[in-house]
Subunit: 272 residues, 2 copies
């Protein structure tokens, strides 16, 4: 595995590749969720490129940019073990200039995650577009956990006519059901145990839908019951375009939950 | 020459090209200015692609979008004569969806042209980025006449790490000095004759600089004298980053003029 840090190195490497490239953009602190993306990319492409870049433009003032977990050495080892070909780890000044042409996500980026984090998705799309243009992947791998992010990246690829396949990958969970997240390390043991109610509420929602209970209010009420005692930020039932539904549409619905544990926000969701 | 109208046609064609591609994005109503770009592209690339698309997102409400000159049949003949390989003429609905990921030009897009046309350059960058992603040119050709546009496109290419050479081409003029523009057709014979004062004022400015007169106020005063009687919107002396100067910097200065003739705005400039 070769570690690249400059634009020039990456461009030079890319120029020599004529076969398929699988790309996994990350903010590091790699966990089994990332590893599942890397393994899928390894199986489906000749060359695998991973980027680790804690992107400042997607953090709002007061968010956890400085505190965001950084584990470069462990991450390098993980990538090496997963047979990554190239690991791109640029500096902030390598990726950004003082003045920038910006990307603006559409209005639906201001609901749900975007309501509490206005502008967050603009920053996500900007860094993803930059990385896409540098890496020129055949296939790019994203987890379904960041569902709204995934939906906006798919829209950007469509709007800007990017020649890239976006591969949506299933959420990877701890054995007890908690969705993997780099932010799980922030949890106290008590919070960690309480957090299980989130995935439990989604399993319950899935069961209800399985029994043909498609009414969104009923589903939400049951989920709230399961999550009693949690600081729920939102439960949302949306279609693939992130429009809220009153009735579940089979095979076009995502149920999303965010709950807060102190300053830590945990996301989870279920794609029906 | 093959005319393409859909994304699929263009992508299919592009996939088969492995040699150099020269690209000239236009809004049609082709004149000798465009022809000079096409000829340069023809001389420097294996394949030449021209696009004709009157891009709605760069027109502000109340501007001349509906009135903008359209001469498709004449334009096709010109491209054929210039040995263009592919002419891309998409519909608006081919290029845009209802909801869009948008491009936002940096702050300096709101001075000069952007002051009277706020948001204009956002639309320019958006369509240029879309076209770049579709055409994937080796070299893209732009006239120096739209100096601010050119400067912002160069910045976008840099910020977004696009692998495209932007070729800046000299302004083409009528034999009497008037800069070529699709909007010149709007001029009455009297306006047409008065408009000569614009290029004359720039020649005069060039002479002053040749005589080591680098004081911007003096140069502007002289230009105003030459353009007496004209409705001058602005005269600006800027560096390549479009920061206003008080003293001409040799080989890093652009002198810009905009004058109004009824509803028609004429631009001209001199790159020192």
């Amino acid at each position: 595995m070769k570690i690249l840090t400059t634009i020039e190195e990456l461009q030079e490497v890319r120029k020599e590749i004529s076969s398929s490239v699988g790309f996994i953009p990350t903010m590091g602190a790699l966990h089994d969720g990332h590893i599942s993306l890397i393994k899928k990319a390894r199986a489906e492409n000749d060359i695998v490129i991973v980027s680790i870049f804690v992107n400042p433009t997607q953090f709002l003032p007061g968010e956890d940019l400085d505190k965001y977990p950084r584990r470069d050495e462990a991450d390098k080892k993980i990538c090496q073990m997963c047979k990554v070909d190239y690991l791109f780890m640029p500096k902030i000044t390598t990726m950004y200039e003082k003045e920038e042409v910006l990307i603006k996500a559409p209005n639906r980026s201001y609901v749900l995650e975007g309501e509490t984090r206005p502008g967050h998705f603009d920053g996500v799309l900007q860094v993803v577009l930059k990385l896409f243009n540098l890496v020129k992947p055949t296939n790019a791998y994203f987890g379904k956990k960041d569902a709204q992010q995934l939906s906006l990246i798919i829209q950007m690829v469509k709007n800007l006519f990017l020649d890239i396949n976006i591969i949506a990958c299933d959420i990877v969970r701890e054995s007890d059901g908690l969705a993997m997240s780099s932010r799980n390390v922030y949890l106290t043991p008590e919070q960690r145990s309480e957090a299980l109610k989130i995935s439990k509420s989604l399993r319950k929602a899935g069961e209800l839908v399985g029994k043909k209970q498609l009414n969104v209010e009923t589903i939400k009420a049951t989920m709230k019951e399961v999550m009693s005692g949690l600081d729920i930020e939102y439960i949302a039932v949306v279609n693939r375009n992130f429009e809220e539904l009153t009735q579940v549409e089979l095979s076009n619905t995502i149920i999303l939950v965010v709950a807060r544990f102190g300053n830590t926000r945990l996301l989870d969701n279920l794609w029906l």
